[in-house]
Amino acid sequence: MALLRVRTFARYAELLGDPIELDVQLPISLPSLHAALKRLPRGDLLPAKLLIAIDQRLAQPDRMIIGTEEVAILPPLAGG
């Protein structure tokens, strides 16, 4: 197990704090990361479909995280 740092913003920062440190097995898939986030206090309020950014780009669902990346979870975008 290793500590993975996850940045949060806006409503997710209110729910979960920012940043989060998750104790997970690395590398980790996005569905496993999502499941680990859901197990946090109030993590059950995260949506079924979660936007995840890796190194400041929206991640494809099959992406693996090795632990050196900048990882962030993004609420629905509302700029413009």
């Binding site: 913003f9 806006a10 409503r11 950014a53 780009r57 962030a72 629905p76 975008l77 700029g79 413009g80």
Partner: protein
């Protein structure tokens, strides 16, 4: 134009305009997003924009450069971050091109991409003292 594309200070529409215009370009199309006094049927008194700033700057830069290359337009973009009142300018996009087709297409493409791709969030403050995080995926219009 190059960044920064986000600003915590009030946006000068004139400065954004000047960043896009040059003598070879006869058509200038601008989009200005202004904080409205209502949303989803509720009275709004103000809002706060927050952002994942590093990623927002990177996405804005990509949007501007992609659109400039694709449509031969010059583009300027500024998005406000922080606390805004009703009537304040939230975002300005200016697209300048030799002809109006490219200027309209570029301006529209940029604001659509900003709404779709840039990690910015809107906390809306209502007249009754409550606040909500705006979720465009859960509503009509925009």
């Amino acid at each position: 134009m190059v960044g920064p594309y986000t600003t915590a200070l009030p946006i000068s529409q004139d400065a954004v305009l000047r960043a896009a215009v040059s003598p070879g370009q006869g058509a200038v199309v601008s989009f200005v997003g202004v904080v409205r006094d209502h949303h989803d049927g509720r009275a709004v008194v103000g809002l706060s924009y927050s952002a994942y700033l590093d990623m927002a700057e990177r996405e804005c830069g990509e949007i501007v450069q992609e659109t400039e290359a694709r449509l031969g337009a010059r583009i300027a973009l500024q998005h406000r971050i922080g606390d805004l009142a009703v009537g304040d300018v939230a975002v300005v996009v200016v697209a300048a091109a030799p002809h109006r087709d490219a200027a309209f297409d570029a301006c529209r493409a940029v604001i659509d991409a900003v709404k779709r791709r840039v990690p910015i969030w809107k906390h809306e403050h209502h007249a009754d003292g409550s606040s909500t995080w705006v979720d465009p995926t859960a509503e009509e219009g925009g």
